[in-house]
Symmetry: C2
Subunit: 452 residues, 2 copies
């Protein structure tokens, strides 16, 4: 392994080699470098600092020049005050600046401190005519969506991405604090977890998939982009008891809807030694904001829908899947609070859902969480851990050979277990009160759009 001591090295010429200590890195200028958020929170006035960022406003007055400078560390910019002589023609909205000065208490009530500039350097110009965002103008989310390479420079979208980063860290902390092991489940997979269509296939670029080739696949088998890490998490729950994954998931859905993306993030958890949907729902409640939730059974949901006076497009017969219109109605009916719907018809659910053995109305131990505006936010189930029942169902579906490895998980030390998945972008829509999923992801991918 890597040796811990530095050995003397024969040198060819001087100075061919140099050795580093962190002190070498501490250059004069970086010692005074400060991020805007730190400057804003600073209690010490009179400090010499250097700020680097982008100009968000320029107000030249007779004697003084006022700038707002943002470096992405916070929504609030730092106010910079300078003598008029520091004003230059290229000091425009959107340009990049490097400023040194002293932090002083601000006379204004808008901020605690301001930067009295001694030097302003325009590092990168920005032609205000060509720049798609205009000073003092409030651009709609729809408008800025046209500029995926620039929209992070707007207040609204940069704030959303800061919240996304925070939410993402909070989710990781939640699972870590609760002793879940993080598993990087694979993006490329040879199985189709949901048994559904709408998969993306993966092939080396330029691969003609020549049918004369005896082994036409890069991976020897057809490979797809994952629709869920669940089956891989089940493998891991059989060793670590509680595991989660948080990463990209894919659907080749030909949809332009404001709730769908071809690439989205999903939080998935799998818990061993879990025997009831209650345990699963508890984790979902903990992960969400602490609030009250309702629980209704699928059968009750159908009763509610059938008793309503609303004309639905899709069938509300027992055995039919709940459609968006049904979900919306149920959430509204329950008083616009999140609703868990449990125990779905057995035939509607994939092979892994646990059989409730409650014929004649045969259900599986599956749960969906419906929330206002967004609709389905989480989905989960107990998994069939009984070898005999799972084996029968897979045989019935002609999948026994494909899932031999999955059956083996039940053959060797099987335990009751279950899990759930939550769409991260839908979660963000939910906590932010936004409507379009394209506004809460850095680079949106959906049918007919893969910009950058």
């Amino acid at each position: 392994m890597m040796s811990l001591t530095l050995q003397r090295i024969p040198v060819f010429t001087t100075p061919l080699f140099c050795r580093w200590s962190s002190k070498v890195f501490q250059r004069h200028c970086s010692r005074m470098k400060m991020r805007v958020s730190d400057a804003l929170a600073s209690k010490e006035t009179g400090t010499n600092v250097r700020i680097q960022g982008w100009v968000r406003s320029v107000r030249p007055q007779k004697d003084n020049l006022f700038l707002n400078v943002n470096d992405g560390s916070s929504l609030q910019p730092l106010q910079v005050v300078a003598g008029s002589h520091l004003n230059t023609r290229d000091l425009t909205f959107g340009c990049a600046v490097d400023i040194t000065g002293t932090l002083e208490k601000s006379p204004s009530k808008k901020q605690n401190v301001e930067l009295q500039a001694q030097r302003i350097e325009v590092v990168g110009e920005c032609n205000p005519v060509d720049f798609p965002f205009k000073i003092k103008e409030r651009h709609s989310l729809e408008y800025v969506r046209q500029f995926p390479h620039l929209r992070c420079r707007t207040n609204a979208f940069s704030s959303l991405l800061r919240i996304r980063s925070e939410a993402s860290a909070a989710i990781q902390s939640f699972f870590r604090d609760n002793s879940y092991l993080q598993i990087h489940t694979p993006v490329i997979t040879s199985n189709d977890c949901e048994g559904a269509g709408e998969l993306f296939q993966v092939k080396p670029a330029g691969d003609k998939n020549d049918s004369d080739d005896p082994n036409p696949h890069f991976f020897s088998v057809p490979a797809y982009l994952t629709v869920s890490g669940q089956l891989h998490l089940e493998v891991m729950a059989g060793a670590f008891s509680a595991v989660y994954t948080f990463g990209p998931t894919f659907r080749a859905e030909n949809s332009q809807s404001r709730r769908h993306l071809a690439e989205f993030y999903m939080v998935e958890a799998e818990i061993a030694f879990t025997e009831s949907l209650d345990d699963l729902m508890k984790d979902q409640v903990d992960l969400m904001l602490k609030r009250k939730f309702n629980i209704i059974s699928y059968t009750e949901a159908i009763d509610i829908l059938k008793s309503s006076s609303q004309n639905f497009t899709f069938s509300t017969e027992w055995g039919c899947d709940l459609q968006t219109e049904h979900e919306k109605f149920l959430v509204k009916h329950c008083g616009n609070v999140p609703v868990f719907v449990i125990n779905y018809p057995y035939e509607l659910k994939p092979f892994y859902a646990r059989d409730n053995q409650d014929q004649p109305k045969h259900t599986a131990a599956a749960v969906d969480l419906l929330v206002p505006e967004v609709g389905e936010l989480c989905g989960g189930s107990l998994r069939e851990e009984r070898l005999e029942l799972l084996s029968q169902r897979l045989a019935h579906a002609g999948l026994k050979d494909t899932y031999e490895w999955y059956l083996q998980l039940r053959e060797f030390g099987s335990v009751p277990h279950g899990g759930f998945g939550m769409g991260f972008e839908r979660y963000l829509l939910c906590i932010l009160g936004l409507h379009n999923i394209k506004d809460v992801i850095p680079f949106a991918r959906f049918s007919h759009s893969c910009l950058l």
Copy 2:
């Protein structure tokens, strides 16, 4: 948005709806549930606890039965002691158990506490003849690799995955503590960052890509799996100053080597207002263990290679890329410590690398970090932020139209910036002293292999 108060809901039958508080969830049994790691660390003896896990050893003696139970929370199992009458035929290596008893101080020096069992339930049996891992046997990493769905149940691989999870959290903390914003860069992309081949293409499964179809692509353009999030991070560095991404990356490399995977994790960072490779190298040093590093230029590296008596397979002329054999030699030559190689020939580097303008030996401000055993661990560069130079180079490569958006980043508030990427699995090999990259990822994908 979601209402904060629970409204009364009209009910159809009782109890159609129930409202939840977290107390409802606290069932009797879960109050005494304890993870093995917590039990092992417990100072309180006489406590009633319930342990759920898998049996790692069974030693029946005349009066007593000794079990080792592991639930994945630690390498060390919990010793369980029970009267012989609790022994059953199905209590075998690998079976799943649910045990209640009292934690007592252990008379043995091997552990602080042991569990005196009052009840042992075999939840899931495990036939020791069919189970591929045998009691008391030490299975090689090569052997367990054949069982991707079961290898997490071995001591070695479960420990590796716990370390992977910790390392992953530590990397996130490092960036968070240093005010980097996490960006989820897309997996599906329409650009090819490295300008190289070996890309995976993405299409909806069953898509025949009929050439008669006027718009044969799901995304309207050909789409690929990302080889790097760099260009997307550059977009974000232009607003947030310091950003990083940590996620899966792909290469359709037809390699069975112990250092390559088709899907691997990469940590990438991009930093605005960075003007020297020193800054980039500093971050890489901070991210790695604190230790001494060497720095040599590419030109010096070539001098070293040419002066050596070793016969290399590949050319060591100035302008040629460094091959694995060269990297190994350089690291060894420097005394088996990590070596940064800086300032590579301009023509060897992609369009985004910053021109050092140092003709006749024309170089770009790029850096690779070579480490013992593993070879290339990190790669980074300053990016060309000067519109004119970048524009010329893209025009020369016939890529100006494709990268119009990238040029615009230089048109509007451009700043000197740079970044680097580190292969996470190679990092793990490096800190763990392991040799095969397939042993440090939960599910390995490489040419001709995509199990599960």
